[in-house]
């Protein structure tokens, strides 16, 4: 097992160290070809990222976007898992259909919603039919943020659903039966049996889902393009534009590394807090 892990460490570690190194050199269209000779400029990229660039705004957007989408997707995913845990008709089919938005390639999801949300698109038409306005510009200005949240929740709530569904399989039937004998309501069963037993998978789901939403590049990029409206200029799109569209690879790498540090510390504290990294007996699971 160890040699395998070491090899993977190399495949991951080497590119990662290169990426960090890029943050300290002035790598752009003029130095790209001879990148080993690109001038070392110390912390200049990091200073620029934090002061004059649009990174702080993007970071704030991405953090709120990631937390918000996770907060909305979690109850949906949990409820969905509960609906197909028991015996229901065509359970396998329903379980699989829930997965459809999650497995449609994100590029296609983005294109689909771009069409549905266009000025004359289906969303506005439906709103108009319901008498709820219907001349909204969903893809420009501040509403774009909410459009992105809605589409992202639609596309990826199944992540929490899958985590919860597998977690539900570890709850012994005896626990439910004991609760039934006590004559508790379904809500009490969720509150006192299901949620405590799902603590592990759900805590993990929350952190992974937050990180994945944070790093989602494809969906905002396809929906809004680049340069993106300010309301949806999330960090991955900003980094892509900085690195690949205007060739500031050094600055882009510095932005990524800063984001990584800012993400990793809360993530680590969270892991310690929910004791996910403890051994079973220490956690008392």
């Amino acid at each position: 097992m160890l040699p395998g892990l070491a090899l993977l460490g190399l495949v991951v570690a080497l590119p990662f160290l290169l990426a960090v190194w890029m943050g300290f050199i002035d790598l752009d269209q003029y130095t790209l070809r001879d990148w080993l000779g690109a001038p070392f400029i110390g912390l200049a990229n990091f200073v620029e990222a934090l002061t004059t660039s649009s990174m702080p705004h993007s970071l704030w957007l991405s953090v709120s976007f990631a937390l918000l989408t996770t907060a909305i997707a979690t109850p949906i995913g949990l409820l969905a898992a509960l609906t197909v845990n028991g015996r229901v008709p065509a359970r396998g089919l329903v379980r699989s259909l829930y997965l459809v938005p999650y497995v449609i390639p994100q590029f296609a999801t983005g294109s689909l919603w771009q069409v549905l949300l266009q000025p004359d698109g289906a969303v506005n038409k439906v709103l108009r039919a319901l008498g709820l306005g219907g001349s909204n510009e969903w893809l420009i200005g501040p509403p774009a943020f909410w459009a992105l949240v809605a589409v992202d929740v639609w596309a990826s709530w199944a992540f929490i659903y899958l985590m919860a569904l597998s977690g539900l399989q570890t709850i012994s039937t005896e626990l439910y039966e004991a609760a039934d004998l006590d004559g508790v309501s379904w809500w009490q069963k969720v509150r006192y049996v299901v949620l405590p037993q799902l603590r592990g998978p759900l805590s993990l789901g929350l952190i992974l889902s937050t990180l994945q939403h944070f790093n989602n590049f494809t969906l905002p990029f396809v929906l809004f393009g680049s340069p993106a409206p300010e309301a949806v200029n999330v960090l991955p799109v900003n980094i892509y534009q900085t690195s690949f569209q205007v060739f500031r690879f050094g600055l882009g790498a510095a932005m990524s590394v800063l984001a990584l540090i800012i993400l990793a510390i809360p993530a680590w504290l969270y892991l310690r807090g929910v004791r996910l990294d403890a051994k079973p007996e220490e956690a008392g699971a």
Binding site: G4, L18, G86, A108
Partner: protein, 287 residues
């Protein structure tokens, strides 16, 4: 099999209503997608809801616009291999991480989460540098091969799968294994005979997540592939391309191809979801 289904937590009526609501939430946009796949492109751009005529030929033309068939095969192979390898490694790694205490255990777990926070966009250029120097210095042609993609996806899929398995294994009581050890099974024997059979639900979920890493990727595949190793997700972009200077994207073909691309995954899941029942839930092992 008693009349009362203990695993059904929600009251039957509420359960039914919720399923209906969730299916509507999921399927209404998907039905739009299916409808769009037979709508002429100009209608879609103009915001027409109901097509002026049904353009079923989109489903025929999409195979010509891009090499969709070979793209699907490439996607399936690359995503499946990386997912299976990731899950096999993850089961081993997660078992060590949950059953033994060793120096560096916690940092290792922390690094795995750290890796989940790395933006793919950051790694793209360096990953390409490393892979292409493997060709230059080691004579190992990586760029353009399926192996390169599989390795790249493993870097993202393996940490994900490992964490899923760690969380799952923590719920399996060690007392079950102790019995096995007393009966003379090796550690590997207990893992294979006792832990794995109880862990199918966790493994299925880890497999799905790891699979989707490769299935959905566009960023890495677009630079790491040659025409004959292109994946379907990259091919899809050809339909959506809006050409400068006025041309309508091939919306219909894009939606048709996307519907088609999600079918194999849903089918695979339909096939595997029966494993989402663990012996743990039945409580049978206790006796």
């Amino acid at each position: 099999m008693s009349g009362r289904d203990a695993q059904a937590v929600l009251p039957a009526r509420l359960n039914g209503v919720l399923i209906a609501l969730l299916l509507a939430f999921v399927l209404v946009p998907v039905l739009f997608m299916v409808l769009m796949s037979v709508t002429p492109d100009a209608d879609i751009a103009g915001g027409t809801l109901w097509p002026s005529h049904l353009a079923f030929d989109n489903y025929a033309r999409m195979w010509d616009t891009v090499a969709l068939g070979s793209g699907l095969v490439n996607s399936l192979v690359v995503a499946l291999v990386s997912a299976v390898v990731a899950v096999v490694f993850a089961v081993g790694a997660a078992y060590c991480l949950t059953r033994f205490t060793f120096v560096g255990r916690r940092p290792y777990l922390a690094v795995l989460v750290f890796l989940q926070s790395v933006p793919q966009v950051l790694l793209l250029l360096p990953l390409f540098m490393v892979f292409s120097s493997a060709t230059t210095y080691l004579g190992l042609p990586l760029v353009g091969t399926r192996l390169a993609l599989i390795l790249a996806y493993l870097t993202f899929a393996l940490p994900l799968a490992t964490w899923v398995m760690v969380t799952y294994f923590r719920k399996i009581p060690e007392s079950l294994e102790e019995a096995g050890l007393l009966d003379g099974l090796t550690r590997f024997g207990t893992l294979w005979r006792i832990v794995v059979p109880l862990s199918w639900p966790g493994m299925v979920v880890a497999l799905v997540f790891a699979f989707l890493v490769g299935w959905n990727d566009v960023v890495i595949a677009s630079v790491m592939t040659h025409p004959d190793t292109r994946t379907a997700a990259v091919d899809l972009q050809v339909f959506g391309q809006s050409i400068e200077g006025g041309a309508i994207p091939q919306y219909g073909q894009l939606m048709g191809a996307s519907v088609l691309c999600s079918v194999p995954v849903v089918l695979l899941y339909l096939l595997f979801q029966r494993y989402l029942v663990s012996g743990l839930a039945a409580g049978a092992e206790k006796g």
